[in-house]
């Protein structure tokens, strides 16, 4: 009985905190889980940074099933969480259903556009960042052949590939770009073995730099590239440290910043369409001590110059999703 009392007390407090209205923000990860070394993990990093800087807490959930998308949104909204941030285009349908029912709650969706007065849609100019790493790939390549390995074959990933190919051609018009996709389903985001096979296939076709835009699959691409002694390019998070001296650079997509900003803005968050590109630091390429020996001063100068020109609008990188076509690469 003496033991029961504190237990019951704890249960009661927990039940109370669960039911009480909370002004905490909430973060919903996609099925990939929060430690995918890539996209979801970047979001998690942003939320953690916010929690450390403000000393406040936030709610989070890793989904287990499709039916939970709408459920998690509604539960957080009903509990008073505000704003609610979700990472991944797959939430679009659920959010479209839910948003109007909770006009006082602000939602942020990353990588997809959803209409709604209380929705902020954050999209990234991945083609711009990919353009920069494409230039670096072309300059680092000795065989004049570079590779691209995408995750799931969706317009978003083709956007990466297209920007990359344009960057390659800009630095070296004679270079060849080999592009492969891992698959056509969400499983393609988490298939390092297939990623490794594709890398080997591209190496046999002469590629000596490969760019992986494939979520968890990229881990296999980077590993194989390091094993086979060619260079690779990481994506989303800075992945240079995974194989120091073997990863040329990473195309960083500041998903964490988008989460951080949404959390910081809190309930007064501005809604609407938000584009994170080179101009506002939403995408870029990663430089640190792990890849410094690989990147020459000349390379960095050329890339920084292009970055400035893209930011100012002087160079226009083609966005695959604007017209579903790519002048520099055919799929």
């Amino acid at each position: 009985m003496t033991l029961m009392k504190p237990l019951m007390g704890a249960a009661a407090t927990l039940a109370l905190t669960a039911g009480a209205a909370l002004a905490e923000p909430a973060l919903i990860f996609d099925l990939g889980g929060k430690f995918d070394k890539s996209f979801n993990e970047a979001a998690h990093g942003g939320a953690q940074r916010w929690a450390e800087e403000t000393g406040e807490s936030y709610r989070e959930i890793e989904l287990q099933s499709e039916a939970q998308r709408e459920q998690a949104l509604r539960r957080f909204a009903e509990a008073g969480a505000n704003p609610i941030v979700m990472v991944g285009f797959a939430f679009a349908d659920a959010l479209g259903q839910v948003a109007a029912d909770y006009p006082d709650t602000k939602f942020t969706i990353i990588d997809m556009v959803v209409e709604g007065d209380n929705v902020r849609s954050v999209v990234f100019n991945e083609h711009e960042g990919s353009y920069l790493v494409g230039m670096m790939a072309a300059m680092a390549s000795k065989s004049n052949t570079v590779g691209f390995i995408g995750g799931m074959d969706i317009p978003l990933i083709r956007k990466f590939a297209c920007g990359y190919a344009e960057g390659v051609k800009a630095a070296n018009p004679d270079a060849t770009v080999i592009a492969n996709m891992t698959g056509t389903t969400p499983a393609a985001w988490n298939d390092p073995v297939k990623g490794s096979e594709l890398t080997k296939a591209q190496i046999s076709q002469g590629a000596d730099v490969v760019y992986a835009a494939a979520g968890g699959t990229g881990v296999g691409v980077l590993q194989t590239a390091a094993d086979e002694g060619i260079l690779s390019i990481g994506v989303d998070s800075n992945q240079n440290h995974l194989h120091p001296g073997k990863v040329l650079t990473s195309m960083t997509k500041k998903v964490g910043n988008a989460v951080f900003e949404a959390f910081s803005d809190g309930a007064d968050m501005e809604t609407g369409f938000s584009v994170m590109g080179l101009a506002n630091g939403g995408v870029g390429y990663a430089m640190d001590e792990h890849n410094a020996p690989l990147v020459s001063a000349e390379m960095q100068a050329a890339v920084d110059d292009a970055a400035a020109k893209i930011a100012s609008g002087e160079i226009k990188v083609h966005d695959y999703m604007s017209d579903d076509s790519c002048p520099a690469l055919s799929f």
Partner: protein, 364 residues
Amino acid sequence: MDKMPKWADVVLIPLISLILAALLSALVILGIGEDPMAAVKLMVNGALGSTYGWGYTLYYATNFMFTGLAVAVAAHAGLFNIGGEGQAMLGGLGVALVCLLIPWPHWTLALAVAALGAGIFGAAWAAIPAYLQAKRGSHIVITTIMFNFIAAAVLNYVLVNVLRPEGSMDPATERFPEAVHLPSLHELLAPIGINFSKSAPANVSLLVAMGACLFVWLLIWRTPLGYEIRSLGKSEPGARYAGISSVRIIMIAMLISGALAGMMAVNNVMGEAERLVLNATEGAGFIGIAVALMGRNHPFGVFLAAILFGFLYQGGAELALWTSIPRELIVVIQALVILFTGALDNMVRMPLEKIFLAVRRGQN
């Protein structure tokens, strides 16, 4: 004479198994530094404490009723149908085609035909393993499990290449038209004055599932066909000696089983998502095996076991939402319940039988 009274077999053994699983889960939760009492309370409150929680519990339970019944019907014929997952996937395709291709005037008509479509697709998917078993003796466990993978690949191909709307990134069909929207329990219960949660996905297909339970009970215990199915399940040579065609009964039992598994799609595809997504079944076909085992292949047992597993699913979701217990651990808890109620049945049964025998001897 039976070793145990019937109530012990039906009630006591599942109950003890459950308590054992719960105790072990509590230890695991303690092990990661969370409070098991609070976790249990959260699960019960979250799954059964409100009409909202019930709505989700019953939604999951509806899925498990269909797949549990599918396993149970096959089991009565001595067949182990592990292919519920694939049959339910194909059932989803049937539902999606019915809902998208035909302009329906009213949901009642759409429901009837969609259920039929789901049943036909599910049954067709079960027909090939059934034929191979009946005619060629290829073991049904192997073939049905292989057909799960083929079903996933078929669905994958159809969704990515055929049914995906232009420009969409999601491998999913477009939304079904408003006319085929199935009324949720909220809409069904509102006219009789019960205010059921609006946002829960439980819908009219719960009644279809309960109807299916009744149908299976009538079929197995009240029809000549059911008698033949049970005879074959008890002893194939015996059944053949009595003039029952094993080929015919294997085919029929598996067709019914596949149709039941397929009809699950009426709930999750038509009732909840209102579009066909890639991973619509989410393992319900496999949970059906545990449900049937726990329910002793009796429709009423399946009904209760399905609600228990619905509770575990919804309670687990609540745990994930409000505590820092990681999702992997929630799967562990669900797995422990399946392990104890399904796989480790004899661990509880044998000691219990000894106790009952000892008590009886003491009385004599």
